[in-house]
């Protein structure tokens, strides 16, 4: 156990991940590293010896994979599902290993492990050579910015320690990986199960002169030299313990800084100088990438969480539209136009994909056209954010180039994105300021402009009720306009069908048109099935507070089918219409509609009166 007694001042940390598929022996390899570096304790060993008999796949030998497969489901199925983090250390380095599953269905888990790693060990089964999965793992590593690769050709014992087999596999890999931009590729022939070339040199392969896997991991230089890059300081928390102190706490993402240096707030352009670099251990004369510090400025300028301090000569572009890669991680597919929340640095802002430029086939790296991204799919997309954001390409800076998308309803982390470049359209289109605004137009006609959004199944009575409401408003002298499937689908949206993607785009366009009519000072009555919560929310977000009233016309589907004014249900049930809401396409009922109208047993006039009462309560005489 020589490792345990030595410690060095320059002890450093290497984070790496292992990628391989079910049978490549990833978990066994990590188990071997822990076992050989003497980091498995007697009681842990006793526990896995017991478990090996119950779940193991290695006969009477200890199944080292059981050291790392922690969740009950994984042990029962003999596979790794989630990312497991393992720790070991040698006199030279401390290691954090992300053990990630290799199946295509777990691409998101692998990307999670890769996001924090600076090196990847890619396992290849010596009997099988470079496979589809090898390409997939390598591509994901490359996409997430890993630049140093170890190709561990495992189970070399099963090909009789044959050099030709090893050389052929390495040749195949290097050829394939030439496009992936790796800085180093180091191949090592190993047997994880028996330990050859893992931590000690194998006597079975005299032809191999390279380092053991552990020797390489202990010595490889993976430094990114973040301190030499442009200064980026995302403000995480404003520290104001008393009236005399106002500091900006955060971790320096890149570059270095010293008191007296000039800094600029990236988004606003306000400038000041660093006064102090405060820490609990006293002020620092300088600080660099990786340090968690608190900066104070010489001037009282406006700085808040989410702002990024940079140097004026190195300001990043600030844009609300950009292009980048997106890995989709949610069961529910990503649809262009749908609204999500984006977190980039310490900024949270609404964001949507405006178009998918192409989808990448993770197995072949071919580019395909796509109209949605499903779970584990990767696309190159254009994005539109709710506010201008300082951006760097992901390859240059993760702090300003990596982002996640979150589902607005479930709060699940749905997508992981990497900025490629800002889109120039964002900086070239400026809003014109007209003197006559919405309030002026509304005042002229004495109106309270707003959208009444009627949602419900086909045949629920949306248009009928909206029609009665509009008549009453018209009689009362209120300027109105109605938008419904008939006047929209035949014109503005005639190019759209009824797939989920097209429904999203249809509602997006309707929402933008409704917003223009509200700007013109009108009450806009919109009657659309609008089956998805996300799109109704998107329209709501386009408008100001109080300008959107959601009216849920709640009619049981049996009643709609019995009524079937256009004969559509009959045709849908006969299979003549696809994607029909309520038949083979879902309707997500509103959870917090301003008005929930139960129509059963009531006349349309009675239902319309309920809407009118609401308008009167809001101060609209009608």
């Amino acid at each position: 156990m020589p490792h345990r007694h030595l410690r060095q001042q320059q002890h450093e940390l290497l984070r790496f991940l292992t990628c391989g598929s079910v049978d490549d022996g990833k978990s066994t390899l990590i188990g071997r590293l822990l076992y050989d570096s003497q980091l498995i304790f007697e009681d842990t060993l006793a526990a896995i010896t017991r478990d090996s008999r119950k779940h193991g796949t290695t006969g009477d030998d200890i199944d080292l994979a059981l050291l790392v497969d922690g969740l009950e489901a994984e042990r029962q199925q003999g596979i790794t599902i989630d990312v497991a983090y393992r720790f070991f250390q040698t006199p030279r380095r401390s290691f954090i290993v992300a053990d990630t599953p290799g199946h295509e269905q777990y691409t998101r888990n692998m990307a999670t492990g890769a996001s924090a790693a600076s090196l990847a060990v890619i396992l290849i089964d010596a009997r099988k050579g470079v496979l589809t999965q090898t390409r997939r793992h390598s591509y994901i590593c490359s996409l997430l910015g890993i630049r140093d690769i170890v190709v561990a050709v495992n189970k070399i014992d099963l090909v009789k320690f044959d050099q030709d087999t090893f050389d052929r596999i390495v040749g195949d890999y290097v050829t394939f990986a030439s496009e992936l931009g790796f800085r180093s590729i180091v191949p090592v022939p190993i047997s994880a199960r028996y330990g050859d070339n893992v931590t000690s040199r194998s006597g079975n392969m005299p032809w191999y002169n390279g380092p053991t896997l552990l020797e390489h991991l202990e010595t490889v230089d993976v430094s990114q030299d973040l301190a030499a890059r442009p200064f980026r300081f995302p403000v995480q928390w404003v520290n104001r313990p008393n009236l005399d102190f106002r500091g900006f706490a955060g971790t320096i993402a890149s570059g270095r800084i010293a008191p007296g240096d000039q800094v600029v707030v990236a988004a606003s352009g306000k400038t000041s100088r660093i006064a102090r670099i405060v820490t609990a251990d006293g002020d620092l004369p300088a600080a660099e990438a990786g340090e968690a510090v608190t900066l104070t400025l010489e001037d009282e300028i406006d700085v808040a969480r989410g702002d990024i301090l940079v140097r004026s000569a190195e300001r990043p572009p600030v844009a609300d539209q950009f292009a980048g890669h997106l890995l989709w991680m949610d069961e529910e597919a990503m649809l262009p136009g749908r609204g999500y929340l984006m977190r980039i640095g310490n900024i949270w802002t609404p964001c949507s994909v405006t178009s998918i430029r192409h989808r990448v086939d993770v197995n072949t790296l071919e580019e395909h056209a796509a109209r949605r991204l499903s779970l584990n799919e990767i696309g190159f997309c254009n994005f539109s954010a709710g506010q201008p954001i300082p951006l760097d390409p992901y390859a240059d800076n993760r702090a300003t180039g990596a982002f996640i998308l979150v589902d607005r309803f479930t709060n699940r982390t749905a997508g992981a994105g990497m900025v490629a470049f800002p889109l120039r359209r964002a900086s070239n289109i400026h809003h014109e300021h007209f003197t006559i605004d919405k309030a002026a137009r509304a005042a002229l006609v004495g109106n309270t402009p707003m959208v009444l959004w009627f949602t419900g199944l086909s045949g629920s009575g949306k248009s009928t009720i909206a029609n009665i409401v509009e008549q009453a408003l018209h009689r009362a002298g209120r300027p109105t306009y109605s938008l419904d499937g008939d006047n929209i689908r035949h014109g503005l949206c005639r190019d759209l069908g009824f797939t989920a993607e097209d429904r999203v785009e249809n509602i997006r366009r309707v929402g933008e048109v409704a917003k223009l009519f509200v700007d013109a000072g009108m009450v806009v009555l919109c009657s659309f099935i609008s089956p998805f919560r996300a799109e109704r929310r998107m329209v709501r977000d386009l408008l100001g507070p109080g300008e959107f009233t959601e009216v849920f016309v709640d009619t049981p589907i049996e009643a709609c089918m019995a009524r079937d004014p256009k004969g559509l249900y009959a045709r849908a049930q006969a299979g003549q219409i696809k994607n029909f809401t309520g038949i083979d396409s879902p309707y997500e009922a509103p959870e917090h509609a301003e008005l929930h109208i139960l129509t059963a047993g009531r006349t349309p006039e009675d239902c319309a009166e309920e809407v009118l009462e609401r308008l009167r309560a809001a101060g609209i005489a009608c």
Binding site: F41, A111, P241, F245, D281, P285, A286, G290, E291, A292
Partner: protein, 307 residues
Amino acid sequence: MSSQSGKATLTPHLARLEAESIAIIREVAASFRKPVMLYSIGKDSGVMLHLALKAFAPGKPPFPLLHVDTTWKFREMIAFRDMMAKKVGMELLVHTNPDGIERGISPVASGSALHTQVMKTEGLKQALDKWGFDAAFGGARRDEEKSRAKERIFSFRGPGHSWDPRGQRPELWNLFNTRIRDGESIRVFPLSNWTEYDVWDYVLAEDIPVVPLYFAKQRPVVKRSGTWIMVDDERLPLEPGETPEMRMVRFRTLGCYPLSGAVESTAATLPEIIAEMRAARTSERQGRLIDTDEDASMEKKKREGYF
């Protein structure tokens, strides 16, 4: 790390762990309405508290400390807890499950599983609900136990504090998803990437106070199930033939005293503890009687709301 910085004693590895943990702690203060830091008095809690003090200097951490007291902690732990709260000047909240007291739940009479369930897990949930905390820091580390190895740094809990290992959010880069709805909460583990070695190295480097029970001393103990149990007060009933004897022992982990096994040791200083740990052949949780109940028992406890 520059040598003038005052952190010259930290290795680059420890300095990086420290910075990462400070960022996590600040993130919680910035993102949640009402956070709390669980303080369980042990070495990990001590390190976590030390990091919180560093994160907000020159101010104080903008959240209170919470101790869920099972009434079976070592007396020295309670004295240490009160001394530390006073020393750091933070509010200390203490909660004990009143139902458990009423039912007479104790590790001796009820067994470790029921005691842990009622006094720790239920007590914790009561306390979080009572004060309406939406984020709670815990000192758990991924190297402690297998199901912890897959835990997120920001661990999402549904209504009723439920933990679904399959429903956890992917955690990429340091872009934590801090969004929750009413009734949901987040448990945060700033020490996720620390090992037992790192904790002790850091305690030594930063001169962090720890409970004296970690240091070897002559203590009254009895041998049970192959481990030394300390007779901390008269509540521990002695079995026929058992007589407490004085032994030179110390604790690697601390919990309720009838559930925490001591090891024979002469390590009475931090460097001696570290040397002993590096030569040890058993894991620190070996002294914890609650983990050995059954396979995957930690995963089961966590599903029920245990930290």
